[in-house]
Symmetry: C2
Subunit: 366 residues, 2 copies
């Protein structure tokens, strides 16, 4: 086997593939990159058994055949420090010789027998999405997903195709984020992608220069195809909860408030709230929303924000981080907070923009 | 007690004093800021028993007297989020009321009985140093000090006044850094400041707008005085080793090499060296220095750097991080490496600049 490739192309493909590298704990061999040289093609593959990446490396010269695994940590560092524009790869027994300028690395490889094949979804529902639109939708909801990998049905983002709409939903049980946009597709389907797969989706979207991406779902796997990279993700085999149930249909109190003012007020009350209670009381009256937090050890804080209110006065408490997280993902100057009562979920959305909404569960008043 | 102060001045003085805050483990009360209002002055003080800071706060209105301690974590966060330009402080029993705009914090204070007085050195040897010069000297040597607080005689920087020279020396036993500059002072003295005190010195130098700083040493304490801030540091009661002993007097091999080339070569060999051995062999021949590192599990790397060599060929091994650390603290394009043999300390210094030198101990060749 002999390969001559630009150092930049080798580095780019290693970087793209690195996102699906498994932690060593999964299976040691999967903490490495599969190098596959076959029929004049050079592929770099990674998989953590849930997500797989198969990147085609564009090389000036490819000869021979080979299939071996390179330790992940070493090769990622190594491609960043190669001194010359051109790098040559060759095999001496099980040693990969990497030469660039006057530098020679000899890296011990591992046999590829136990490395699974990466096979993209080949049939199923296919739809195209504008990349910048999809990037924004993902960014607006992903933070609300449960971080705990053991909560399999919440540790991800739910995708729903319904009546020419693509809807993404994420929730950790305490808050929920929903983003929806029109797309040209009349099929009805839904699937759940894990948070790790979603980060891979973000990685693919970040690294693509094309305007749209093709998504294919075959009932078991989702494939994303761009340029020289195929990314295959297994959907999560768990049921996403019936999220529509927690979105209130009518409200008794509506508040319009400057996003920046509320953000700054939250920062002030969080000085105290972060010391124990993690709870802030919102006292909503005519023209004013008072934020109050107390800590038995440190003291208390009272802060006021000017608001426009419709409907009833209300006292309700939240974990301030959940409100702050929502505000970070809204871009309008003003936001709308819609309440039913002090024990029902609160809906927050940008003012005068539809398709994006957030639900935050209140905390019991102390 | 009532104080009216600009929020900016309050925040600045809290920030300056925060650097001498003790970790909670030392003594709980010292994890707080002492607020002292007395004779129309408002002082904010901190100490970890080794370093003390006494900052005078310039306030528009100061009335009454008080002495109490405010929890450190809370007050540091709080001063960053106060909404108005002006902040008012008052006491209600043991509660400090902090009002700014429409925000009110009520913070439970602690009694100040156990908080020690901060008393600056009042007599002893006094010298003035140019602040930018001292900043540079400290920056050039501090990295070489031992990080381990239990190595009391090496966990700091040694100051030496000798024949109109100020010399700073730091060493962790494996490497040594020395910086020396002329100052106008004919006295002879020396003292050792701990790494923590040295960081406080850096902090003081960073926060001063004046051109020079006055250093006073009374045999037990070092005081730095600038504007409204007095910083007092206890010197370390331990003997700094006789560092002159490890600085070679004659050399058998001298290498001049581009700092950038050697830095990049080190980055390459460290890909392998960081995987176990932490050792790089330097093979010095006519015009070339070859860097070689091997890892039993991962493989090996061979790299070459062009050099100008005088004297004998040499093979010697180092921990590459120690060489990298030195290169990061030299600014000249070329550096000089001076060797005796493969078991003696190596001296590295900038080319054609005197007063700054580094010593690195070699590793036994494998």
């Amino acid at each position: 086997m002999k390969i001559t490739v630009t150092t930049l192309e080798l580095r780019d493909k290693i970087t793209i593939a690195s996102k699906a590298l498994a932690k060593k704990s999964v299976k040691p061999i999967l903490a490495g990159f599969l190098f596959e040289v076959k029929d004049g093609n050079f592929y770099i593959c990674t998989t953590d058994l849930e997500t797989g990446v198969k990147a085609t490396v564009n090389a000036a010269e490819i000869s021979g055949e080979a299939r071996f695994v390179v330790p992940g940590d070493i090769i990622q560092k190594l491609v960043k420090v190669l001194p010359d524009e051109i790098t040559e790869l060759s095999l001496e027994g099980d040693v990969l010789v990497i030469s660039s300028g006057s530098t020679v690395f000899r890296i011990t490889t591992m046999p590829a027998d136990e490395f699974p094949e990466i096979t993209p979804a080949e049939s199923g529902i296919t739809f195209e999405v504008d990349i910048s639109l999809l990037e924004e939708m993902v960014e607006k909801v992903i933070f609300a997903a449960a971080k705990d990998e053991f909560m399999r049905n919440l540790n991800g983002v739910f995708w729903e195709l319904h009546k020419n709409l693509l809807r993404l939903v994420a929730s950790d049980g305490f808050r929920l984020a929903l983003a929806e946009e029109q797309i040209e597709n009349e099929e009805e389907t839904s699937f759940l992608l894990s948070l790790k797969s979603m980060k891979e989706v973000q990685n693919v979207l970040d690294n693509t220069t094309e305007p749209t991406i093709t998504v294919r779902y075959d009932g078991r796997r989702v494939s994303l195809t761009t340029n020289d990279v195929e990314t295959v993700m297994r959907v999560v085999d768990a049921e996403f909860p019936d999220y529509k149930r927690v979105i209130p249909e009518t409200f008794k109190t509506k508040v319009v408030v400057s996003r920046k003012d509320l953000m700054e007020s939250l920062k002030r009350v969080m000085v105290i709230a972060s010391k124990g209670s993690e709870s802030v009381k919102f006292e909503i009256e005519e023209n004013v929303m008072r934020l109050v937090s107390k800590s038995p050890d440190y003291g208390e804080v009272i802060d006021e924000v000017e608001v426009q209110k419709e409907g009833e006065d209300l006292v309700i408490a939240f974990n301030p981080k959940f409100i702050e997280d929502v505000l970070k993902h809204i871009e309008t100057e003003e936001i709308e907070m819609n309440f039913v009562d002090s024990t029902s979920p609160c809906q927050i959305n940008p003012l005068d923009i539809s398709g994006y909404l957030y639900i935050v569960m209140p905390i019991r008043l102390a």
